[in-house]
């Protein structure tokens, strides 16, 4: 069967690609568009390392097919910093040592940004449940949760 031709917007750029039916959005991002910041930890939607937003909605890109994104808008970790300026969440993760190995970090940042866009003043419990779809095996989540809480506070005051 012929490949699908797909035109989409990724991190604000218009992109076109061809993909097989069974290729996931994660496969396309990593292998075709060479955006390897989204990670594959499980390919079953359980670890959240491949989190991206699709038309503003948080999704696991391993659970979306490449051919489903025609005409749609995708934002990945690579689009989070603006020029030389890191997103406040990125900056806070660095300052608070909210990462150890860093493999889950892109997914956590994308998911946390998505939360703060919906809820600028989340409680600790709301943060913990929103991020429950992202697995981290190194940190015990403590510093991640604190970084998100502090960033939310900083952004509200800004």
């Amino acid at each position: 069967m012929a490949k699908h031709h797909v035109a989409a917007t990724v991190n604000g750029d218009e992109v076109e690609f061809l993909c097989e039916t069974e290729e996931t959005l994660l496969d396309v991002l990593r292998d075709t568009l060479h955006l390897t910041g989204s990670k594959e930890g499980c390919s079953s939607g359980d670890c959240g390392a491949c989190s991206v937003t699709l038309d503003g909605r948080l999704v696991c890109s391993c659970l979306v097919l490449g051919c489903e994104v025609d005409g749609r808008k995708i934002d990945t970790i690579e689009g989070m910093a603006k020029g030389e300026t890191l997103h406040p969440l990125q900056q806070k993760f660095l300052e608070q040592a909210a990462l150890q190995c860093g493999i889950c970090t892109p997914g956590f940042l994308v998911a946390a940004k998505s939360l703060l866009e919906r809820n600028p003043n989340p409680s600790e419990t709301e943060i913990r449940f929103w991020l429950a779809g992202n697995l981290c095996r190194c940190t015990g989540y403590d510093k991640i949760i604190k970084a998100v809480m502090e960033t939310a506070g900083d952004m509200r005051r800004a």
Partner: protein, 785 residues
Amino acid sequence: MAETNGTTNGAVLDIPQTYVGTRTVRPDGVDKVTGRARFAADFNLPGQLVGRVLRSPHPHARIISIDTSKAQALPGVKAVITRDDFADQASELIPAGEMMMNYRDVVRNVMAREKVLYEGHAVAAVAATSVAVAKKALKLIDVKYEVLPHVIDVVEAMNPSAPVLHPDLFTAGVEPKPDKASNVAKRIEIAIGDIEAGFGKADVIVEREFNTAPVHQGYIEPHAALATVSEDGTAEVWVTTQGHFIVRAHCARLLGMDISKIRVTASEIGGGFGGKTVVYLEPLAVALSRKAKRPVKMVMSREEVFKASGPTSGANIRVKLGASKDGKFVAGYAELRYQAGAFPGSPVQPGVFCAFAPYDMENVKVVGYDVVSNRPKVAAYRAPGAPISEFAVESVVDEIAKKLDIDPVELRLQNAAREGTKAAYGPKFGPIGLTETLHAVEKTNHYTTPLQPWQGRGVASGFWFNIGGETCASLTVNEDGTVSLVAGTPDIGGLRASLAAVAADELGVPYEKVRPIIGDTGSIGFNFLTGGSRSCFSGAMAIVEAAKEIKADLCRRAAKLWDCKPEDVEFSHGAVRAKGAAAGKHTPMTVADCAKVAGKTGGPIGGTGRINAQGAGPSFGTHLVDVEVDPETGRVTILRYTVAQDAGRAIHPSYVEGQFQGGAVQGIGWALNEEYIYGKDGKLQNAGFLDYRMPVASDLPMIDAILVEVPNPRHPYGVRGVGETPIVPPMAAIANAIEQATGVRFTELPMSPPKVLKALRERGLNTREALRSGNGKNGHGKNGH
């Protein structure tokens, strides 16, 4: 927030410590928050092929034949490998950090030979032009098996009538030498004093049997490797590993190549916890590339990670502990049966050594058995072996405290190992911080906060040896006075930040001017792997040596420039200074000043530390946990958690806290949910993150971390390893808390909802009446104990 009971700031070394002990931003951080950092699966080469592994569907079977002809004939298939592509290896035990290894078994684990020994055991591998072709090729490989009876459980595997995995395996360490092969690879024993006499003096004795389930390290990044072998036989490998020098050594040995011809680059590593200290895909990728003459990339699926890479042992344990009525431990006995997986080599020896290590006891005997069964070969997992035996001992310690009505922290303080205590496994401890961690926990308001019905509070301590080992690191002073730092142990959670801080303080240069990298195997001398909590401990020692070399060289250069005697020049407070007869006659030169005139004074400036680091200091920790048990569902919720651990000296407090917190949470998973579940067919039933339930953010509270600092006198900065001890206490601390909440002593891990619910039902504790009366098992005493 964490609090610091620091005692050593600036006291260890006579140099200003601007960065050591502070929370610097990690030099590799920006790449990790922007998605730029390259993990193993992020590397690609032009013309690369996709490598895939055919794995055994059977837990135990003889391989009658493997026919790869149809697969090889499939268009797009460029190479197929089987056991025939690996020369057999002689049996030889080789120390591998905290574990032992045998190349006879390594070659059989990476590719099955006579038999497959577990579901998921590699049988063949292909390299093809696409994933689709590779998958199709695997289906075309015809393997004929003679299915054999299998055994999964460790106790069943020890039964004389159990199916035997290895016909040439005779139990080592027993006299007379057995004449019949069995699944018991070895028996080990340590003993001090006279335990019979010791138990004779006991006023109270508790004896219990425990069972723990195998758990996986659970790193989020699956194993991955990219290899390219050129026509001249040289190879390059990019891989996620805790030790790229070890990968190089294994590939050279298994594939008959010169070590110098293999260059291995450690990618950023997405978690390891011991599980990435061995090889799985690496020799296959190199063998496939050598055959195909094209780069080959291999990435495991999560299912493959669970089925074919190392979990740690499950175990069966008996513990007997005796105490006098005033609370002195008079005798301890333990019997440990550890699953090794398909090949010998469980961490039963460290389990034996650690069992009673936190306590000063005169009479101890511990016996351990290393037992094979039809499961994946275990790999190291954070303090390998210790969490299992110490779970059992720390549970029994709690029971003794209850029986004697002594506060569990006080009981531990009364028996705690101190400086000068002779451990049952041999050495006499130097300065150690166990009592300090117990006092630290006692002083928290966590310890005295009242509890509600169905809530309980538990405490447990833990011990791990830590190791040093072969380490090489270099510092180069660049032309502009900046510093390039090359280390050779993969940075798994803040190593570059720690070493850069040490280098900056040693040389008196700003932290931001030190750029640390993890060099490939061609750019720095041999390094043993990142494991045993050694990378910061040993790396900092090597950096101190490298800096010494630079400082001595700069002094020689300055003496020449200043035309004075070498003994009239010293390096202090970040600069070369004249002293003695020359004092005050010359302007001090910083490292940057020296760099400017390097060409005139002897050329490039640099130093290398090449050491076999000795003097690792043991780290003790104590954990305090509050739980709440839901009597209707059996779910245990962690309400509050405090870790106190002796770090010796925290080079980077945030990353030390991170080790405490992360280790504690892995222990929480081990205690409450994680386990390998097998069917009667010997197949793993939960090889995915949905069914293998690791802790998620909503399961947890904050994890309070208390840094205790009792400096290690054998380290220039007082450092002890910190990474492993934090996973030792949680299981017992939680079991002790659940006991307090419910009155039920759980002796089997995980304490998952079905098991808790069943136990409550059996005891009639969650009947409607019991629930109405609000079960009051807890809450007596000032802090619930």
